[in-house]
C-alpha cells in the first residue's frame, strides 16, 4: 500500500462517528498491527474500515458475526490488539 493510500485509510480510521472505533482502529494502525498484515489481509481491513460504524462495532464487540473468513480473521486481530 503506498503512502497516500495508507494515509487516506488512516484518516478514515482516526475520524469515525463513534469514539469507540476511533480508539480501537487508531490503536490497530498506530500500534503497528496493520503493517504486520499481508496484502490480502490489509485489503480485508480496508473493507472493514469502510463499514458503517455500528455494524463494525458490533463485530468488534462480538455482538454480531461475519461469515467471510477473510474479514472474520481481521476482526479477531482487531479485538486482540
Amino acid at each position: 500500500m503506498d503512502r497516500a493510500d495508507y494515509e487516506r485509510l488512516r484518516w478514515r480510521c482516526i475520524r469515525r462517528a463513534l469514539l469507540e472505533l476511533d480508539i480501537t482502529l487508531t490503536r490497530f494502525l498506530d500500534g503497528g498491527e496493520f503493517e504486520k498484515l499481508n496484502d490480502d489481509q490489509q485489503q480485508a481491513f480496508v473493507e472493514l474500515a469502510d463499514m458503517e460504524d455500528y455494524d463494525l462495532w458490533d463485530l468488534v464487540t462480538g455482538k454480531a458475526e461475519i461469515d467471510d473468513p477473510r474479514l472474520a480473521q481481521i476482526v479477531a486481530l482487531i479485538r486482540k490488539s
Binding site: A4, E7, R8, R15, R16, A17, L18, L19, D53, T61
Partner: protein
Amino acid sequence: MSIPVLKFDAVIVGAGGAGLRSAIQLSEAGLKTAVLSKVFPTRSHTVAAQGGVAASLGNSEEDHWTWHMYDTVKGSDWLGDQDAIEFMCKKANEVVVELEHYGMPFDRTDDGKIYQRPFGGHMSNFGEKPVRRSCAAADRTGHAMLHAMYQRNVKANTQFFVEWMALDLIRDEEGHVLGVTAMEMETGQVVIFHARATIFATGGAGRIFYSSTNAFINTGDGLGMAARAGIPLEDMEFWQFHPTGVAGAGVLITEGVRGEGGILRNSSKERFMERYAPNAKDLASRDVVSRAMATEIKEGRGCGVNKDYVLLDITHLDPATIMKRLPGIHEIGIQFAGVDCLKEPLPVVPTCHYQMGGIPTHYSGRVVAPKNGDVNSVVPGFYAGGECACASVHGANRLGTNSLLDLLVFGKSAGDSAVEDLKAGKAHRDLPKDVADKTLARIAALDNRKGGANVHETRLAMQRTMQDHAGVFRFGDMLKQGVEKILEVEKAARQLEIKDKSMAWNTARTEALEMENLIEVAKATMISAEARKESRGAHVRDDAPDTAEFPNGRNDKEWLKHTLFSPVDNTITYKPVNMQPQTVEPVALKTRSY
C-alpha cells in the same frame, strides 16, 4: 499565488444533523449549495446520539409544547433564552413529522403512530410527572436521522465536498461573511468557497478535555474559525459531564453499573461516597457523584501515577449477574481500560459530553455579535445551528433528547433564514484582496517551522489542563491557575511544528490545524469559567455553594446573563438573558430541583 474560487449560493460547513438539515432547505429552494465535511456525512458524530428526539406529539399520553418549554427553561437553569426555547419546542412536532416523511424509521405504536418513551427531565403539566416525549429509532436515532437526511439531500442535488476541511471564515471590511477557505485532504489544495450565505454546523469541541465521550472529530473547527474572524463565543463555561467514563479513553460506563451495586473507591480503596451521601451512597444523583469524584481527585486521593481517576468496583458482584444485566461492560473494560472488571476495578473519571455554549445566534439561525452598542447585531451572511451554535436553548444545562431537536430546528431555521436573505436578492460581494492570506500563512508556518511544539504533546497539555482545572466541579484557585496554564499552552499551540510536509493526505497537518481550533475553545472555556463566580447548571463551583440566599449557589442578581468571550483580546462582556417568550407568559425564576 492563485487560489481556485468555487462560487455557491450557500456553503455549509459540517454534514452532521444540523448541516444536512439546513442543506435540505437551501437545495430544495433551488439554491446552489455546497456542504463541506471532514468525513463522509454518515460518519458524523450525530451518529452516536442514541436517546431520541423530543417532541410533544402526545402520541402516548397528553403533552403540550408549553410543558416541554417549561422543562427546557428549568433544565437550562434559567440561562436559556425563552424566545428561542419557545421557538424550538413549538417547532418540534413539525420537524419530527418532516423527518418521518423523509423516511426516518421511527419506532411505532401498535396503531402506527411514532412511539414515544420517557426521558430524564421531560415532564407533563409543568414539572408534575414524567411524560413520554422522546421519539427514537431503536438505539440508533442519530444514525437513522443522518441517513434519511443525506438521501433527501442527494435527491435535492446538494453538492458534497467530502474529506475537505474548512480553514478560515472570509469576512470583508464591513464584517460581511463571504464564505470560507478550505483544504481538500486528498491533494492538500486550498480553495476559496465564495458564497452569499455561510452556515456553520461543525458540532461540538469536546476534545478539549482529557476525558471526553466525543469522537476525535469534535475539534471545534467552527468555533475556531469564528474566533479567528473576531466573532465572540457565548456561554463557553457550560459543559455537560457524565460521572463515569473510562479514564484515559472517555468511553461511557452506564450508570446502571452503580445501580447493580458498583462501588466507587479512592486510592486507599475507601468507599468515599459514604462521606458525601451517607444514604444514597453510590446511587446519589449524577451531579453529587461527579462532584465527589472530582473532590477526591483534587485532594490527592485519586489513583494511578497521576492520581487522576477513581475506581469503580464490581468485583464483589456475581459474574453471571454482571454478564446478564450489564452486557458490554466486560468488553469495554478489556478494550479500553485493559481491565477484567470481574477481577479488578475499572478506572473512571467524570467525562465531558456536550457543549452548551457556542457561536451566538438568534433563533432564526443568524449569527449575532455586539456592534455599535447592539449586543445582538446580525453578522450579515453568517448562520449557525446545532452544537456549535448557542441560540441559546440549553442555557446552563441541556435536557436529554433536546440536542437532536436543536439540530433539526435550528438547522432548518438557519437554512430558512439563508433562503429568505438570498431571495431578497443579495449578490455575491467582492472578495477582499487578501482573502486567503491568513490561511496560507498559517499553513506555510506549519510547514516551515523548525523547533516548534509537537502537536500531540500540545493537545495533551491542553486536555490535561482543561480536565484538571475546569472539569465537572470547579475550584476558584484551580480556575485561576488554569487561566495562566491555558495561556501558556496557547503559546505552544501558536508554534506547532509538523514533520510531514507532503501535500496529499497529510493527516499531521490536518491534526495541527484542528489543534489551532481546539485551543480557541479551550481558552474561551477556561476564562469564561473563571469569570463566572456563581454555580449554575453544569457550571458548579466549590466557592459558590448552596446557601439560603443562593440556592444551589445560583446568584440571579449578578449572574443571570450570557457570557461573551472575545477571542481578540481575551476579554469578557455579558448580555442579558431573554426572559420574554414570544406568545406565552415567561417561566418565572425559581430554584432548580428535581
